[in-house]
């Protein structure tokens, strides 16, 4: 996976609603139609980093199958960051495409 894209994907996933790590990992895999395979372990340092920057916040909750799990939700700062990073991503994709498929 491209450097930095994991953060963007996590933010996007959490924009839908609070979720715990397990859900985030499966959501990314599922919504990319199994193309993007996240190593689930690598998700946790990324979550920690995002929380550190104040883009997401965490709390303990109960999962669908009655397990204690740490939930994450997007903060207002995270929402702004998501918009900024999405725009940046679009720019990069357009730029790369211009090079790969010149008109």
């Amino acid at each position: 996976m491209l450097q930095g894209t994991l953060d963007l994907l996590i933010l996007k996933t959490l924009a839908i609603g609070p979720a715990h790590g397990h859900t985030v990992a499966y959501a990314i895999e599922h919504r990319s139609e199994e193309v993007l395979q996240v190593e689930h372990g690598s998700l946790y340092p990324a979550l920690h980093r995002l929380e550190d920057r104040g883009w997401i916040a965490s709390f303990w909750g109960t999962s669908e199958n009655n397990r204690r799990a740490r939930y994450y939700r997007l903060t207002p700062a995270g929402r702004k960051q998501l918009t900024a990073q999405t725009n940046r991503w679009d720019e990069i994709v357009r730029a790369v495409n211009r090079i790969l498929r010149p008109a």
């Binding site: 397990h22 689930h40 372990g41 690598s42 946790y44 999962s63 199958n65 204690r68 799990a69 740490r70």
Partner: protein
């Protein structure tokens, strides 16, 4: 990353461990729901997660300040090693302790010798008077620890100077205390009349020496004891005033004792008994240096009159210097080398009045490093 999180990184790590456990539990549940056996489900969950320890370590690293963390670990490692080698540890700790102790002792010595101030009134007003170029310029006999002046030179300076409220000279001989038999020595002081007045040292009991005591050819000179000597030799008895003391076989009347804080004018040295300078012939007899132009044995100081600066003092000494030097300098001294200066004892650093370097031989060069002004 906040510093609070650094100190709570252990708790943080526990939290992450629980979080990862939660992941494994949920994933195992899901795997069982997909039809796996519990063991296979748990193993599959672990595979899916990857290396849990690595994940926790990565987060732990994010929370830590590397330098503090590794320093702390080094410390713990060091303590463990010391415990493993008790003999080595004891030797190391002992040598450290000795080193610290030795350093402390050396500093205390330095403090006593170089840093302490003269125990006198307003030491900042005191200046030393001496030949400015003491090395190579003078010939003759040099005795004592501060052979700055000859007595003829000193007497001329005393009588002609107008910049000092008091000028005084001293020399530090060794006196023999006994009347016969095995010699027993005391640290002596020959002091000129204004010595105690100039230093502003009062008597603890009795009186100190005055200008009236220091007359050429004094027949029965008095003596003043230091506090330490008084305690040691007379057990602090008040009846010591009026008693006599034998110095070099001659009897002196004891007239007083100086305060405990006064140790003389040489930092790092002490004196036992002070007598007037006019008693020098009493001890030296025919070898007296009172009129010798080439026996250098006196140190001299002056207390600047109020409002007189060091520069003014130098100028005045320079003005009176030619007539003195023509008559009093030994003819063997080359004209170009005959220079005398008055130098401030106090270091100007900090409050001048509270710091004086005294006549310590160990810092002589620092006291009079300015160019000489008085040529003779």
């Amino acid at each position: 990353m906040g510093i609070t999180r650094f100190f709570r990184r252990g708790r943080w790590d526990d939290e992450r461990a629980r979080e990862i456990d939660a992941y494994l539990a949920i994933e195992t549940d899901d795997n069982i729901a997909r039809g796996m056996s519990p063991d296979a489900a748990r193993a599959a969950a672990r595979r899916k997660l990857g290396n849990a320890t690595l994940v926790r370590e990565e987060i732990y690293q994010m929370n830590t300040v590397k330098l503090i963390d590794s320093a702390w670990r080094d410390l713990k490692y060091g303590a463990r090693l010391l415990r493993l080698n008790p003999a080595f540890a004891i030797v190391a700790i002992l040598s450290l302790a000795l080193g610290v102790g030795a350093n402390t002792a050396i500093f205390q010595l330095l403090d006593a010798v170089r840093i302490r101030t003269l125990p006198v009134k307003d030491a900042g007003e005191l200046v030393e008077v001496r030949i400015a170029d003491p090395v190579g310029g003078r010939t003759g006999q040099f005795t004592g620890r501060r052979p700055s002046l000859t007595n003829p030179l000193w007497e001329q300076i005393r009588d002609r100077q107008q910049v000092f409220s008091e000028a005084f000279a001293w020399s530090a001989p060794t006196f023999d205390l006994t009347t016969g038999g095995e010699a027993r020595y005391a640290q002596g002081l020959w002091v000129s009349g204004d010595f105690f007045k100039g230093l502003g040292v009062p008597a603890l009991i009795g009186r100190t020496l005055t200008a009236a005591d220091d007359r050429r050819g004094c027949a029965s000179p008095p003596a003043v004891l230091s506090y330490a000597f008084w305690q040691r030799e007379y057990a602090g008895s008040a009846s010591v005033v009026g008693a006599t003391i034998t110095l070099d076989g001659h009897s002196f009347d004891i007239v007083g004792v100086t305060p405990a804080s006064f140790f003389g004018v040489e930092v790092g040295r002490t004196f036992d008994v002070a007598v007037p300078l006019c008693a020098e012939p009493v001890s030296r007899g025919a070898r007296t240096a009172m009129d010798k132009k080439d026996v250098w044995f006196l140190g001299a100081m002056g207390r600047l009159k109020p409002g007189i600066t060091l520069e003014q003092a130098r100028a005045q000494l320079a003005a009176i210097s030619p007539p003195i030097s023509r008559r009093r300098c030994p003819t063997t001294v080359p004209k170009t080398r005959r220079t005398i200066c008055s130098s401030r004892l106090a270091r100007t650093r900090g409050a001048p009045a509270s710091r004086s370097c005294g006549a310590s031989t160990s810092r002589r060069s620092g006291c009079c490093s300015r160019p000489p002004v008085w040529s003779c």
